[in-house]
């Protein structure tokens, strides 16, 4: 049977086919669809599974690891930068190992499309000494998810499955296997020397881990030099070693070349980039004049290959050391590698004009929040964070974005750097969304309060994880499987972190919000003041129920009053505000298809030309 599946759905399917019954994740592009697909497919087949949106990736990995300590098969799912958050648990878990099966899916984002780094999770697997699979297509990702579980169970080690965005969001016709109906019971065998190992035992565990990896590196199933190569007599001058989506791209490219050109190359596919098979590399170095290694996004296979004299790839610059691979880059690399004697020439320098940058949705409450912030604290330092509201940068209302939760630590540290010698302190605001606050803002807030830092904590509470597709947060109480849990109140949490001044405002009430932000800033300067929290609370309009609550006003711009100054577009950047086509005065109009009727733009026009009918 075949079904159209997203790469992420295919991985969820692969887990279920091999008896995975526990999955924990924190949403992050490009990995976000895996957990919902796991729940949906598990439910459709009547399997008793447990799946949860953990508050962050570290907790997700710790939870999945613990399930695998009791003999269960489990998965922890995250994006590549989420693995940074989970790093402590990840590295330690490799030493302890598992009794069931544990797959860590860490989805990479070369490009990057929707991330702060282009890091390669396979490199992280190498650091942690965890075996890693690199699937090439959604179909293969589904199979490899199962292989990873089986390998984990066999070796008693966590195993990583590393897809990239191109695979996660590829859609393909997938051949399905039956979903496992096996329901084993948890069994916890007390082994304090293993599960709570002290440094002395850790040394022994490290030696055991090394032995398992050596054994795996000799496993003939992962010998990539055997594949299709021996039939070539004599061997082609050039060998290409590739893994994952980079292999898929290379194979399509070679298939499109005329025969006399593609005949120069033999392509080898690596399924398990770490640990790399111990003999395959040497065999290929002897077989071919030159080797090209193609992988995303860092030279993981290349580093393990040994003799660098005969190898081209990322290290010698044949493949660029940043950015996602595409057919043009590969084509250029192939020409360079083979000496470009007779490869087809192709128009590979077409310069495309830049695309339209993303912006906040029409009616987005964040837009109103940013506008009020700029009005209230015009000379402020705006320490930002990760979410849709990072787009506040378009509105000139975001000065920093380091990583999840950093807005609060950074606001605190900005305060301390100015306060040290009694310099005048600019208004400082930490801008953070509700989901990010739960993820890693809370320890930062406890720290800032303890350190005595003072700033405005501007909590943009849209009651969801909007950027990644509206996953619920603990404040909603709703869980990944749709069941209702206890709802945590942000106000109570803030109080618990020692915050004494807390205001909750609807960001659509812009003047009230501006006043509260000014007040909050004053509080940070008062002799007995501290951190002042302002919660801007209004639901994300991507949630249908929130959309229904919208006032849906009829908004228009009076042609005779608009001066064409463009202030509204620059300062508010609502997608519904557009410069009229071929208007000599560049006047602005409201695109009625895009406008959601929130009426938030009415107050911002300096000429009062924007009106509600």
């Amino acid at each position: 049977m075949q079904q159209v599946m997203l790469g992420n759905e295919a991985m969820a399917r692969g887990l279920l086919e091999k008896g995975c019954s526990f999955t924990y994740a924190y949403p992050g592009t490009p990995s976000s669809e895996i957990l919902p697909a796991f729940i949906q497919q598990g439910r459709e087949h009547g399997i008793a599974i447990h799946a949860h949106w953990s508050v962050n990736e570290k907790i997700a990995l710790e939870s999945a690891f613990t399930a695998a300590m009791t003999g269960m098969r489990s998965a922890a799912v995250m994006k590549q930068v989420g693995l940074n958050v989970a790093a402590d648990a990840f590295l330690s878990s490799a030493y302890l190992g598992v009794t069931g099966g544990l797959v860590v899916i860490s989805a990479d984002d070369p490009g990057p499309n929707s991330s702060q780094t282009e890091q390669d999770s396979r490199m992280f697997a190498m650091l942690a000494k965890v075996p890693v699979f690199d699937p090439a297509t959604p179909q293969e990702a589904s199979v490899f998810a199962g292989r990873a579980l089986d390998l984990s169970a066999k070796l008693g080690l966590p195993v990583m499955l590393r897809p990239t965005a191109t695979l996660c969001h590829a859609r393909q016709n997938i051949s399905l296997k039956a979903i496992s109906q096996e329901q084993s019971r948890p069994e916890f065998i007390r082994q304090p020397q293993r599960w709570a190992a002290t440094p002395k035992h850790r040394f022994k565990l490290h030696q055991q881990l090394n032995r398992k990896l050596l054994e795996l590196a000799a496993d003939p199933r992962f010998d990539f030099a055997t594949e299709g190569a021996t039939k070539q007599t004599p061997p082609t001058p050039y060998g290409i070693i590739a893994s994952g989506c980079a292999w898929a791209l290379t194979s399509d490219l070679l298939n499109a070349l005329p025969n006399d050109e593609s005949r120069q190359f033999t392509l080898y596919k690596v399924d398990l980039p770490y640990p790399l098979h111990k003999n395959a590399g040497r065999t290929l170095l002897e077989r071919h004049e030159k080797l090209l290694v193609i992988e995303e996004s860092m030279p993981v296979i290349e580093y393990q290959m040994g003799d660098q004299q005969k190898i081209c790839g990322r290290l010698d610059g044949t493949i660029p050391d940043a950015g996602a691979l595409n057919p043009e880059i590969l084509f250029t690399a192939l020409k360079h590698f083979s000496g470009a004697k007779n490869l087809l020439t192709k128009n590979d320098d077409a310069a495309a004009p830049p695309g339209k940058r993303p912006s906040l949705c029409p009616g987005c409450p964040h837009r109103s929040s940013f506008y009020a912030l700029k009005k209230a604290l015009p000379k402020g330092i705006y320490a930002g964070d990760i979410g849709c509201y990072t787009l506040g940068i378009n509105l000139n209302a975001l000065d920093s974005c380091l990583c999840m939760g950093a807005s609060i630590s950074q606001a605190g540290s900005f305060y301390q750097t100015f306060a040290r010698r009694g310099d005048s302190i600019p208004p400082i605001a930490a801008i953070i969304g509700d989901s990010t606050f739960f993820h890693s803002g809370i320890p930062a807030l406890v720290n800032a309060r303890w350190e005595g830092s003072r700033f405005v904590l501007f909590l943009l509470d849209n009651s969801t994880t909007a950027m990644t597709g509206n996953q619920p947060t603990p404040a909603a109480g709703l869980r990944a499987d749709g069941s209702q849990g206890p709802a945590l109140k942000l106000e109570t949490l803030l109080q618990g972190c020692g915050i004494e001044k807390i205001e909750v405002v609807d960001p659509y009430r812009q003047s009230e919000l501006t006043d509260k932000l000014k007040e909050a800033w004053q509080y940070t300067q008062a002799p007995d003041g501290g951190i002042a929290a302002v919660i801007a609370r209004r639901g994300c309009l991507m949630i249908p129920a929130e959309r229904k609550l919208l006032p849906t006003l009829q908004v228009t711009i009076a042609d005779d009053e608009c001066t064409g100054c463009g202030y509204c577009i620059k300062a508010f950047e609502c997608p519904a505000l557009m410069v009229k086509a071929e208007d000599p005065e560049n006047r602005v109009m409201i695109d009625q298809v895009t406008c959601v009727g929130c009426g938030q733009c009415v107050t911002i026009c300096p000429h009062e030309a924007i009106k509600i009918i």
């Binding site: 859609r171 016709n173 993303p358 787009l391």
Partner: protein, 173 residues
């Protein structure tokens, strides 16, 4: 077995992803192998978005310059930055109110205006594909696209609306 490299360009929120899903559903109904790629995350907030659909014996969904057989453009502003993906002799179909210098009028449709006039402002993508399916370069027939709409509909109301939009598009030729 169909062999076609198809690209869809537009802005986040226009239904670019839905359209690529619809075409892949049609491919599945036709029994063709395919692989597609779509933009997610930050780009979905109104920014430039493309989807790539490769039907036939392919491993990667990515389409190179001068390779696409057909380019579907849902927002005219996105034509300029994606046209270099089209192979010589390939087809470009664009949702545009205005004439475009290098494209004949039969390759242009005022799909947004038509969708709004028919009170289906959110179904620009379907109006456009109902029309595009008439073109020789389009990989599947109008009837197969109808079937794909039916199999993908999550409710009878959505099915009716989507079929209506598709039909309005068909009538534009």
């Amino acid at each position: 077995m169909t062999d076609c490299k198809l690209m869809i360009a537009g802005l986040g929120g226009q239904g670019v992803v839905f359209l690529s899903r619809l075409i892949s559903q049609a491919a599945l109904l036709a029994g063709d192998d395919f692989i597609t790629y779509e933009s997610h995350g930050m780009a979905m907030r109104g920014g430039s978005v493309t989807s790539q659909v490769k039907i036939g014996n392919y491993n990667s969904p990515l389409i190179g310059h001068d390779s696409a057989d057909i380019l579907l453009v849902l927002a005219a502003g996105e034509y300029e930055r994606n046209r270099h993906f089209v192979r010589p002799g390939g087809t470009c179909l664009v949702n545009s109110k205005q004439a475009l210098a290098d494209l004949p009028p039969e390759c242009l449709l005022k799909a947004t205006t038509i969708a709004v006039d028919n009170n289906l402002p959110k179904a620009v993508n379907l109006v456009f594909s109902g029309w595009a399916a008439q073109h020789q370069a389009f990989p599947y027939s109008f009837e197969l696209m109808q079937e794909a709409v039916k199999t993908m509909a999550v409710s009878p109301a959505i099915e009716t609306a989507n079929l209506k939009a598709l039909e309005i598009g068909r009538q534009q030729t």
